[in-house]
Symmetry: none
Subunit: 524 residues, 2 copies
């Protein structure tokens, strides 16, 4: 178990995710990043099917990749035809990809009911197609589609398909759990049997329908597989593919298996964010190893212990994968957490002193009212600095007015009028918007933009509304969370009120103040 | 492997999730749902630490649960004290919970560096605490914190801790992977060893930091564990706990293990949605078994095959867990459900006829825009009746205006001015409120009250706001759900718009119209 080959299919299987649609340019950027981190094979697409993929294979040839080889994906030839005349195989060759991966059926249910051909012809399709591609000088990989279902239903035939692939010259034979339904123990047993009868390196390709794709991939390695296919962040159709991010971290840090370098491992968190960003997917906060919350500690007991010995509540050192520890302040965390937080901000809050006590009390009161600072660290920092007189507001609200109007047969309009003071200068302006909060947001930025040009660097990236105590109906308190970002970081702010406009306003003001605080040099 | 006990800790460990903050009322609703589905133990909270939890234990005693027993969670006594004088243990007893679960250290690193006590005293703390609680007539469960880390580091001591728990009278001994770092093979091996030396039933409590919590829980069962702890949707600190939803589905459908009934299994999708909704978390579309995309098939090869034989691309029948197949190309996926709905309303909609087709198209368009009629059947009924000219609106909006004003040093005010027409009579009135939606709600009722006195019988009982497409920031679309009730029933209505006031208005109007429709005798 010295070295495991990684095969990334984010650009092909990952692109099947509902909601993901890569441009050729997106694909180029991801491929280069995957190459940098040391992925061995990058599956770029199915060149016969998608014109975008044809363009990708053409453009990627111009790049001098350091580590990776590009693979083109397709299927075996059709039944009762010749490989040399098959359109799919011709498309694969035309891509000029060095590596060609083709999938074939290994479950006889599929052979008979979907392909509607004979078991023997299917074996010939596998063997012929591979031999043909190999004769053209390509490195060929066989993806054994539905292998585990076939192995359960008709083991003899499933293994025959693998042997046909070997006979045809496959350099890797990859066992696919196409429906994602196989349990870890079944994966282990099947791989163990296969590696006994197959001479070429065996690979694994898992889907997450049983929420086991990562465990199954790791178990396959323990059973003798030496090649793993997966996608960054587990993107893929239905419940996704095996998440290469978690697989890499587990292999490297838990099993001492070589697959990328230690230095590249430190880029794992960044890689995950990068691919999420390009895919326009939100990176899940709870994503193992690389998520924002993966090393966040909330319970008072935990924080106490972490401060004594980080191993006590962390399975790995977050730094190894480029992530970091976060201590979350909340009603669960108690004093030590809050003091620690203040320390991080260089505020020197002493919870034993009267001032510190007062701040903690106010914090608890606010949390009781529905504030939830753990999700809004920027607001927490502003609160602490304000409480300790470490911070002066960058502007002062004089007044605002928001008017929402609906006239028969016209669509609704929202307009905000705002008056603020920066130093001694008064600014009075107005804006419309898609709804009252958007109008208010626009008016505030408009009023501030001449005083603080840096605000043009930030934008709002996420917005959440939660009704607290929903039973109070339309008079219920509302908690608004706003996420903002500039080119370097993102931050969350919070507002709570019975009036949703007021709650939004509080969060908006904090988001702007935090940006200005960062720019003022007060904050490192 | 006949029957596996399920132990849900959504209300305790799940509540540690950053972003989740349950009210006592939320906890009550979730507990009742868990009971209905047949969960054996429901861990309600840590009564010594959190006042909200104390209130929960008090209120839940008034309910006659059908299947579940309520468990209170806490720790062993402190070092060098007496159990009978320990505050945590007293808090647990005071909760009057039938089941008490306490955690204790089993990793000597924790004993020495975090507790700062001796190995022997830790053993006494475990044994004493359990014996004490049991002597008070409680059913006691021991959570062996960090068991797998302890087992790796100092196996002898880790097992000694379990034996101390057994000696103290623990009825279940639960092996916890507190840091979530253990691989499936390690879990299997450790559980297999433990069940050989421990007489009482062994349980498992997994965290998802290695993205293996579900696989690890299932492997533990295969190694001899008979009790599983987890949370709905895998909520929990950091990367979450083991996801009970996936565990239940795997046990029932892949391993034939009994844990809930087949009928309850069909409620799994609904349960997952329900808990996500109350937690104000988005249910992930790609969540295994229950997510919107879990059985979604894209155009081409897959759909073709699915139509030939659903087993070909589905690991289980989605109906078994209350989910459904979605063919993404199909324009008519919701058709049969909608036709069925119309049948329930005695509307005689024929989806084969032109009218029916048109209505279905409009419905699909609305759903695409973010309407979600499954959660708002009153709005669905109004929509269908309007579309089929089975219904005339009870009033007509002429116009409204909402003004929200904030002046320096004054609190924010909201005022709504509204003009409506009932028949030929125009009504023009105004109202203030706690926020713009409340003001609008009040003004609408005020305008209608003389025409429709029945409205005084209804009131709004719940109000939810969800930001759709959160990435669009303050310009994002918002979905508002309003629940209303009178003395006989409650109903949900919905509105979607980029303007939160408009979305609320749409839902408010429907809530009133539905009430009036009921009173008009048109609806049985």
């Amino acid at each position: 178990m010295n070295y495991i080959e990684l095969y990334d299919t984010t650009l092909r299987d990952g692109a099947q995710t509902e909601g993901i649609s890569f441009s050729v340019h997106d694909k180029m950027r991801i491929a280069q990043k995957l190459d940098e981190i040391g992925i061995r094979y990058i599956e770029g697409g199915w060149p016969g099917v998608n014109p975008k993929d044809v363009a990708f294979f053409k453009r990627i040839r111009e790049y001098d990749l350091k580590n990776a080889k590009i693979a083109a994906f397709g299927s075996t030839r059709r039944a009762d035809t010749k490989s040399s005349q098959d359109k799919v195989l011709q498309g694969l060759l035309a891509s000029e990809a060095e590596v060609i991966t083709i999938f074939g059926k290994t479950w006889d249910l599929h052979v008979h009911e979907v392909l509607k051909t004979s078991s023997d012809e299917n074996l010939r399709m596998i063997e012929d197609s591979l031999r043909f591609l190999r004769s053209k000088g390509r490195f060929v990989i066989f993806d054994a589609e539905h292998f585990f279902d076939g192995f359960k239903d008709n083991k003899e035939y499933a293994v025959k398909c693998l042997l046909a692939a070997q006979q045809g010259g496959a350099e890797r034979i990859v066992l696919c759990d196409t429906n994602g339904g196989t349990l870890t123990s079944q994966v282990f047993d099947a791989v163990e049997e296969v590696v006994k009868v197959i001479r070429v390196p065996v690979g694994i390709h898992m889907h997450n329908d049983s929420e086991m794709a990562v465990a199954n991939s790791v178990a396959a390695v323990q059973a003798g597989a030496s090649h793993i296919q997966g996608t960054i962040n587990g993107y893929g159709e239905r419940c996704g593919n095996a998440n290469l991010i978690s697989i890499i971290a587990n292999l490297k840090l838990k099993m001492g298996v070589d697959c990328i370098t230690d230095i590249a491992l430190k880029d794992l968190t960044e890689l995950s964010h990068f691919v999420a960003e390009i895919s326009n997917m939100k990176q899940e906060d709870n994503q193992p190893f690389v998520g924002r919350r993966a090393f966040a500690h909330k319970a008072g007991v935990h924080i106490n212990a972490i401060l004594k010995n980080s191993r006590s509540y962390e399975h790995i050192d977050p730094d190894r994968v480029g992530n970091r520890r976060r201590l979350i302040v909340s009603e669960h965390s108690g004093k030590s957490g809050i003091a620690k937080k203040a320390e991080e901000m260089n505020l020197g809050l002493d919870p034993a002193k009267a001032d510190g006590q007062k701040i903690l009390k106010t914090l608890q009161k606010l949390e009781h009212e529905g504030y939830h600072f753990e999700s809004a660290e920027a607001s927490l920092e502003l609160f602490m600095r304000r409480a300790m007189h470490e911070f002066r507001d960058f502007f002062k609200l004089v007044d605002f007015r928001v008017i929402i109007e609906k006239k028969e047969k016209h669509s609704m309009t929202s307009e905000a009028v705002i008056k603020i003071k920066v130093g001694k200068t008064m600014e009075h302006t107005a804006s419309t918007g898609d709804g009252p909060v958007n109008a208010l947001d626009s008016a505030l930025r408009k009023a501030l933009k001449d005083f603080y040009p840096a605000l043009s660097e930030m934008h709002l990236s996420d917005f959440k509304v939660r009704v607290l105590d929903e039973k109070a109906g339309t008079a219920a308190k509302v908690r608004v969370l706003v996420q903002s970002q500039d080119k370097n970081e993102s931050w969350w702010t919070i507002g709570v009120s019975e009036n949703i406009i007021e709650a939004s306003w509080i969060a908006l003001v904090d988001s702007v103040e935090y940006k200005l605080l960062k720019g003022s040099g007060k904050k490192k």
